[in-house]
């Protein structure tokens, strides 16, 4: 028996999940960074205060790292809350700089209970090469070690706290760091971000530096430097197809239009390959799918999240193409070539939704920030009348995924109450989000939601 309180709880948790998937506390097209942070901070405190157990369980969902870090910090500050193993699992999935930043935040907040110390120690012990971390994330490692009163063995302790007390180090990377202070050749053994500083100090030209540091670049650094290096005639050998799908889409959208035309086959191939990898065994199983993809001016995002909503839309386009049996993607601007897409023009969602429904697809996915303005509210009306009058049985499954958190509404913007809306961050999550959207439709209740969260946690455990 569902009670009213259950429904509210279910709704609140989904609200929070949407916010925690989409918002990163950065500036968006329609709201400033301050608004986003304030709004998100309220949601965290509200959910944590009212449903502490569900709050902890959201770590199992695909919430973004920014929010995962806030959740973990909150849980650690309240002893006895949250599952230690789940936290450790989530930490292992986060990028090291973000984890070090989280530890610094714990130190700043004065959270230093036994569980926190154990967690940090365990995480540090699990690092494959702590010496490398000590060079690359020096301040972070130092702060974490201090905070949990860890006594590091031998050289590493000296390196962090009295680096020039030793004449030489046994560990190669530490020794390279020491020599790089005066030896130009040694800096090429260091990680790129550290070597860059030494190169500047030694006055090494950018081209020579990039050429020689190339083997040390990480996957993302290769991608990031590919364009600027290619101006100097260097190839960083970035493996486009191996990149995460949305990251790759962002890269493509950052290229000038004529470059996209020139490298058309290569970019298209990489996007298709990345999408096929994400789709995996589900490829081609979704039947007849249509998508309405938002490339209006607001999909530019903001200067700090450049073209992020558009990149998500582009990634969804290729992912849906891989997942579907037959697929049709409709861009709002009317462009037909996804590679030439750019943020411009208004958001006539209503008319495009009609175009998409014309062919009666098995499923319609709308990727949009939900600011429907040409004319306002038309998309919601079209969807309502469609559901009420033309398709009461729900033959066409409609899902709206929204990559932008609306700070004023404490949720992602909805198009219509008749259509479930889910926040999206990475296109990889799309299959899971379509599942999550079922809960938002109100057809399934709190018990199922709890079961779903437990199931996700178990999956995470197994991964």
């Amino acid at each position: 028996m569902e009670t009213y309180a259950d429904l509210i709880e279910c709704e609140d948790v989904l609200l929070f999940a949407n916010a925690a998937i989409t918002s990163t506390g950065q500036r968006e097209f329609h709201s400033a960074a301050g608004q986003q942070r304030l709004s998100l901070g309220f949601l965290h405190r509200y959910i944590h205060g009212n449903y502490p157990d569900l709050y902890a369980a959201t770590l199992a969902l695909d919430i973004n790292d920014h929010n995962a870090a806030i959740v973990i910090a909150t849980l650690l500050a309240h002893p006895g809350q949250g599952d230690g193993r789940l936290i450790a699992r989530r930490l292992a999935r986060m990028s090291p700089p973000r984890v070090y930043r989280l530890f610094q935040r714990l130190r700043h907040d004065g959270v230093n209970n036994r569980r926190t110390r154990a967690l940090v120690r365990e995480w540090l012990a699990g690092r494959p090469d702590l010496a490398f971390d000590a060079v690359k994330y020096r301040a972070g490692v130092k702060s974490a070690v201090r905070h949990v009163h860890l006594r590091l063995p031998g050289e590493l302790g000296d390196f962090l706290f009295a680096p020039f007390s030793r004449a030489r180090y046994e560990t190669p990377v530490l020794e390279a760091w020491r020599r790089a202070h005066y030896d130009k050749a040694a800096l090429y053994e260091l990680p790129y971000t550290v070597a860059e500083g030494f190169a500047a100090r030694h006055g090494i030209s950018r081209m020579v530096f990039l050429e020689r540091i190339a083997p040390k670049l990480t996957r993302l650094e290769r991608l990031r430097l590919a364009e600027s290096a290619s101006k100097d005639g260097l190839d960083t050998e970035a493996d486009l197809a191996a990149m995460p799908l949305v990251r790759l889409a962002s890269y493509v959208l950052a290229l000038p239009i004529h470059t996209r035309t020139r490298r058309r086959a290569e970019l298209m191939g990489a996007l298709r390959a990345a999408a096929a990898r994400v789709a995996g065994a589900r490829a081609g199983t979704w039947g007849n799918v249509a998508a309405v993809l938002d490339d209006s001016f607001s999909s530019f995002g903001s200067p700090v999240k450049r073209r992020r909503p558009l990149a998500v839309a582009l990634a969804c386009h290729y992912l849906l193409e891989a997942l579907a049996g037959s697929y049709r993607g409709l861009w709002l601007s009317g462009r037909t070539d996804p590679l030439q897409t750019r943020p411009s023009g208004p958001t006539p969602l209503g008319h495009r939704v009609l175009d998409a429904l014309e062919a009666r697809p098995g499923m319609l996915v709308i990727v949009s920030d939900g600011w429907d303005n040409a004319p306002p509210g038309l998309a919601g009306e079209v969807l309502r009348v469609w559901r009420r009058k033309l398709d009461p049985g729900g033959d066409v499954g409609i899902v709206h995924v929204n990559p932008v958190y609306d700070a004023d509404q404490f949720d992602v913007r909805r198009l219509s109450p008749m259509v479930p809306t889910a926040g999206i961050r990475d296109a990889e999550d799309l299959p899971a989000l379509v599942e999550l959207a079922r809960f938002a439709e109100g057809r399934t209740g709190l018990a199922e939601l709890r079961a779903y969260l437990a199931d996700r946690a178990a999956q995470l455990e197994a991964r």
Partner: protein, 386 residues
Amino acid sequence: MIDLTGLDTRPAQTWGAMRLVPLVRREPIEDLRLHAKVYGDEPSVVFLPDKTVYTSYVPHAFVASWTGDGTPAAAYGTQLGQPLRHMCIRTRRRMARRVDTNRLRFLPLHLAVEGFLALHFGGPVIAWEEWSRHAIAHGLSARAEDAYTGAEVRGLDDALKVFEIYPGQCGLLLYAGDTLASAFVVPHPEDYRALHPTLIRDLYGELVYEYALFYPARDFPAVIDETTVSSLADLRAQALLREREWADFHGSVMAARLLQAPAHVEEVYRLGRFTLSRFLPAFERKSENHIGETIIDGDGRLAYLKTFRLSEAQSRRGHLLSKLAEHGWSLPETAAALGTDAAALGMRLKGAGFGHLLRQDVLDGYRKAVNGNRRTRRGGGTSPPA
């Protein structure tokens, strides 16, 4: 008569108290373009390969070095072709009045509005004895009107930032608190794209500034009656109808006062097939009064439009001046037309800020007469204690 034919109204976008209504041109006007070198030193002549006429206009808002000796000068109202009429800017005075150099651009806008009003109200045409020597010699020149820059209008910067420009958009109607604040139309979408951010530097009347502090403007969300829909085609027809309804509503209600015939239109300049005119409202009190400029091409198409909404006080002043002009600047005749006497009209002129135009002794006489009248009305009381 302002005719927006050829410009399609698209659904409005709202932000805060602002409502922005885009106007889209199906065929852009190609041969009238913004002057390519507004800030340049030397006159630029553009030869087009297809030998069509190329006409440029100089919006009244720009400062450029048109004078021979390179001192900055501002266009005296909007002009077609090479800028001919301009007024020099007295640099010393400007420096004293302006805090930072970036605000230089605001100055010609002030000049434009002031000069603009002066163009219409030259001052007394007959040297009636009431008018001061200053009024006869200089007219109403150097009249100052207050206005706010767009940057001071609350929420306008955000509204312009989040506004999604339509493909082919050539104009924008700006509403604050759902009253028309300003209309802006250019010949070509590229011009619009270039000038969209400059709306923030434009001048807006006091009314607009105050209305921008009001409640947020509401969207008019589309509502479809589901009983009329039985197929997807019906639904599409309904969707198109909703869009058209908005355009009709906008044209007949929201922008109605602007589109009604302006009371006075002055043809200023004619170049090729383009005509530049300025217009004045009827100065009706308690209603919308817009002053502005238009450029109309040979077919009667609106190529350029820029309006400025007068505040209540400005309308009142305009009303007084237009009545005076109508009656040959004769005070007794005007007073009779307004249903009052010359003394009361004199005091109204003083109250409206035109006291310096009347001879001091005449004004003193009026004041005495009005005060005397009032005292007798109140039962003959003595003068108030000092």
